[in-house]
């Protein structure tokens, strides 16, 4: 077996390749040219400075939701609630962005912070329930997603507007929009959020790898008994882990609310940012750097997919299938591992 690090890198790469190959087969079977399809995908994601800007813009929230799930996972928790945490973060950021009047150096950080705090609070509920009553966090976070969806919808309709489906736009002093970034990417919606996302990735790495906080969180995730024996407060660490994970997801909401859209709309369904974050975390092997790369891949796929119907005539449904296949192969990394080991043996 090769060194573990190399192997850890190989698995996601092979997963993506297998997903692309499977996608190609499906395109062939459906009578489309995979070469045209992937060319369109590539052009849609990296064809010009505008699409590159949009790809990066799309990646920022994926980085944050990916970090959220990866962080929880590293400490032994499954945060399926990133979706809900994104929504409450988004709402909180827009709310502060609309209602408060302050200079930018106060307003923007405040709005970003509000998103993080809202996400953190939303994750605090499953955290405390798990720590004190042993309720499984997967169940609670899934429920919290629905509560978040319907609550934010209701607040948009009844509190932030009077019966409208979209809030007002946030004040410019709370906006992450960057004229400079827009100008170099041919007026894409690229905003400063990507810097926040990258910074958050660095924070996650630092907490997990370098601090006593991360040491405790991981220890509790690995073995609660030994952690208690060592004098750690197990309950506190479970709650803390969920809250930090929720804050990352809440920030992803700020990306949308303060960066891309500048407002929030009533939606019938989920944004899927949180659910895709699960795949991003998986693909990134739950490491900060891995999540950043995986998020860029997801951003590129989603952005590039938009070009496939127009550029190669491939229906959007097929594009969704191809993306789903890639996620499938990532999720079944066990199979990939098996295949790699198998090839290694035969190569001998």
């Amino acid at each position: 077996m090769p060194s573990n690090k190399l192997f850890a890198l190989l698995v996601p790469i092979v997963s993506v390749l297998m997903g692309l190959i499977a996608g190609a087969i499906i395109m062939l079977v459906s009578g489309f040219s995979p070469i045209d399809g992937y060319t369109a995908l590539w052009n849609g994601a990296f064809g010009d400075s505008y699409t590159i800007g949009e790809t990066i813009r799309r990646s920022a929230p994926y980085i944050l939701t990916g970090l959220s799930i990866a962080f929880a996972f590293r400490t032994g928790l499954f945060n399926i609630g990133a979706e809900g945490q994104v929504l409450v973060g988004w709402l909180a950021a827009v709310w502060v962005g609309i209602t408060i009047d302050a200079p930018m150096y106060i307003h923007l950080p405040l709005a970003v912070l509000a998103a993080a705090v809202a996400g953190g609070l939303w994750a605090f509920v499953p955290g405390i329930l798990k720590a004190k009553l042993g309720v499984h966090e997967v169940i609670v976070t899934i429920m919290m997603n629905y509560i978040a969806l319907f609550t934010t919808n209701e607040i948009i309709r009844k509190v932030l507007t009077s019966g409208q489906t979209t809030t007002d736009s946030i004040a410019p002093s709370a906006s992450l929009a960057s004229e400079w970034m827009q100008s170099i990417t041919f007026y894409s919606r690229l905003h400063y959020g990507i810097l926040i996302a990258l910074f958050a990735a660095a924070i996650m790495w630092f907490i997990i790898q370098r601090t006593t906080i991360g040491y405790e969180l991981k220890s509790v995730g690995f073995n609660q008994h030994a952690s208690r024996y060592a004098g750690m407060n197990v309950s506190k660490n479970i709650v803390l882990s969920m809250v930090i994970a929720g804050m990352f997801a809440g920030l992803a909401g700020a990306m949308e609310g303060l960066g891309t859209y500048g407002n929030m709309s009533v939606t019938a369904g989920f944004s899927n940012l949180g659910f895709d974050g699960i795949a991003v975390a998986l693909l990134g092997a739950n490491t900060a750097i891995g999540v950043v790369f995986a998020a860029f891949l997801f951003g590129a796929l989603k952005e590039g997919a938009g070009e496939m119907p127009t550029g190669a005539g491939i229906p959007t449904e097929l594009v969704d299938i191809i993306i789903a296949l890639i996620i499938f192969f990532v999720a079944s990394s066990y199979i990939i591992r098996w295949v790699i080991v198998r090839f290694k043996k035969e190569g001998k």
Partner: protein, 512 residues
């Protein structure tokens, strides 16, 4: 036919290590053949080769004189080789019968499982070998000893002639061990042959005919048990002279370190398990707590270390009240704890050895400053501990999971002793370890005593209690029922006391 199984000059390599190097073992029909070696000597690897889980690089296997190419466990099964694993492979919610037929179900013509036939067959085999297994009992309802018999039955049901027992006594009580020995004898009587993997010399002397010794992956040789003794076996296994009687000076007890007054502790089912216990422990002495498992020993330790709340009573450490303080407070006030279950409590198995070494001290200087870990200091500390405590590990960065039980335990002991606690609690510190490691650990405990520390030893092994303690407190039904010294007591007397029988007259300090 001279041998049923022959493994000749077996060599098995894994990347970086040779697990088996030129090992030969020959099993005669109708014998119990011990395979002896320290933890990590390569016993399990060798048996996995026989069982078809690994392919050897060199050497050959002969079954009943014929060369056999065992490439998977099914072939081993077909050749009549059965394995009783150390960790049982049973489905808990299933009955004994269901477990035994699993994967080999007798069916009626309709394809329905013929439960009646299976039950009858199992009953018959069970009776023939005196296994006394109830075919309808659920696995989750029966004792560990009984589960092991189900495993034995499983191999017999599949027609095994050669049974491999992988450290079968590690999980059993003394009573169950005796019963297992009986079962092994009756298996032999019925014409089976047995390979017994173990590092317990007593068992070998008791039931085995011959014994093959391996050390660090190399075959050392095969001896007739009747012509050897435990000392010779131990030195063959370890490669040097082993002292069973730990040498130590007379204890020089100093000031009182631990005082326990009227301690009452409930277990997780809210039943009183420690019922008004009193105990005093002084610096410079080792007090051994003897008792049958389940008489409140675990709850006592957990109460002292803060892992469990005491209902009433007081625990004082050097006149400081530590009753119901948090584990961290207790640790910081000078208590070291070698826990009974090293995997559950003692180690975070997915952490490196280095990270485990600072499990209670990571938040202190020099291991961290302003909440930022200083890995250089952590791994330096770990390096010095693994050197001093002879922890055999590829490096301090290796995960604790990858180490053998003995080395894991040495790492825990190194960590606990290194903090130089006033009170060191050692709960079953040598469970599952081989003689070399046991000797080392006993020496360390005595060294701590000689430094003036108080050592509380809890063990279910009377040998260990008698050997290491300066004073023995017998625990029965949640209380200390007698205090004796190892010089003036015997294994028999201790056994009686532990069983709760009345103390002989004139033993004044035995009355509680």
């Amino acid at each position: 036919m001279e041998y049923v199984i022959e493994m000749l000059n077996i060599r098995k390599e894994f990347p970086g290590i040779v697990a088996n190097d030129n090992i030969t073992i020959q099993l005669k029909p109708g014998e119990i053949h011990a395979l002896l070696g320290e933890n990590g000597a390569g016993k399990s690897t060798l048996m996995n080769v026989l069982f078809g889980l690994y392919q050897p690089e060199q050497g050959e296997i002969r079954v009943k004189g014929k060369k056999a190419n065992i490439t998977n466990p099914n072939i081993a099964n077909d050749l009549g080789i059965g394995m009783v694993h150390q960790h049982f492979m049973l489905v808990e919610p299933f009955t004994v019968t269901q477990n035994i037929v699993l994967g080999n179900e007798p069916t009626k013509k309709t394809g329905v499982i013929n439960v009646e036939k299976a039950r009858k067959d199992i009953k018959e085999i069970s009776d023939r070998y005196g296994l006394k297994v109830d075919p309808d009992a659920k696995i989750s309802d029966i004792s560990v000893g009984m589960q092991q018999r189900v495993e034995i039955l499983k191999t017999l049901y599949r027609g095994a002639d050669v049974l491999i027992f992988d450290e079968p006594t590690a999980v059993l009580t003394p009573q169950e061990i005796n019963e297992l020995m009986e079962i092994m004898r009756s298996l032999i009587k019925e014409g089976k042959s047995i390979i017994l993997i173990t590092h317990k010399l007593k068992e070998i002397m008791e039931v085995c005919d011959r014994c093959t010794v391996i050390r660090k992956g190399k075959g050392i040789g095969t001896v007739n048990v009747a012509q050897t003794n435990t000392n010779e076996l131990a030195s063959l296994m370890v490669g040097r002279e082993v002292h069973f009687k730990t040498e130590k000076q007379q204890a020089e007890p100093k000031d009182t370190v631990l005082t326990i007054e009227n301690l009452v502790v409930k277990d997780s089912r809210k039943v009183d398990l420690v019922k008004g216990l009193n105990l005093e422990l002084r610096g410079g002495e080792i007090v051994g707590i003897a008792g049958v498992d389940g008489n409140g020993q675990s709850e006592l330790i957990e109460a002292i270390t803060g892992l469990r709340q005491a209902v009433s009573g007081r625990i004082k450490l050097k006149n400081k009240n530590i009753t119901n303080k948090s584990p961290r407070k207790v640790t910081e006030s000078g208590v070291g704890h070698i826990p009974q279950d090293r995997h559950r409590f003692g180690l975070v198995l997915d952490y490196s050895i280095g990270e485990n070494i600072v499990l209670q001290t990571y938040y202190k200087k020099p291991y961290s400053k302003a909440k930022v870990l200083n890995y250089k200091a952590i791994y330096e500390k770990a390096e010095s501990i693994i050197k001093e405590y002879d922890v055999r590990t590829p490096s301090v960065y290796t995960k604790a999971r990858a180490l053998s039980g003995g080395n894991q335990q040495k790492a825990i002991i190194g960590r606990e002793v290194d903090r130089s606690p006033d009170l060191l609690i050692a709960a079953q510190p040598t469970r599952g370890l081989d003689v070399g490691a046991i000797e080392f650990i006993h020496k360390k405990l005595i060294e701590e005593r000689d430094k003036g520390k108080a050592v509380l030893l809890i063990s279910f092994e009377l040998d260990e209690i008698l050997n290491v303690s300066d004073r023995i407190a017998v625990m029965f039904d949640g209380k200390i029922v007698a205090e004796v010294t190892p010089e003036e007591t015997t294994e028999q007397e201790l056994g009686l006391l532990m069983a709760g029988s009345q103390v002989k007259e004139g033993d004044s300090n035995a009355i509680q």
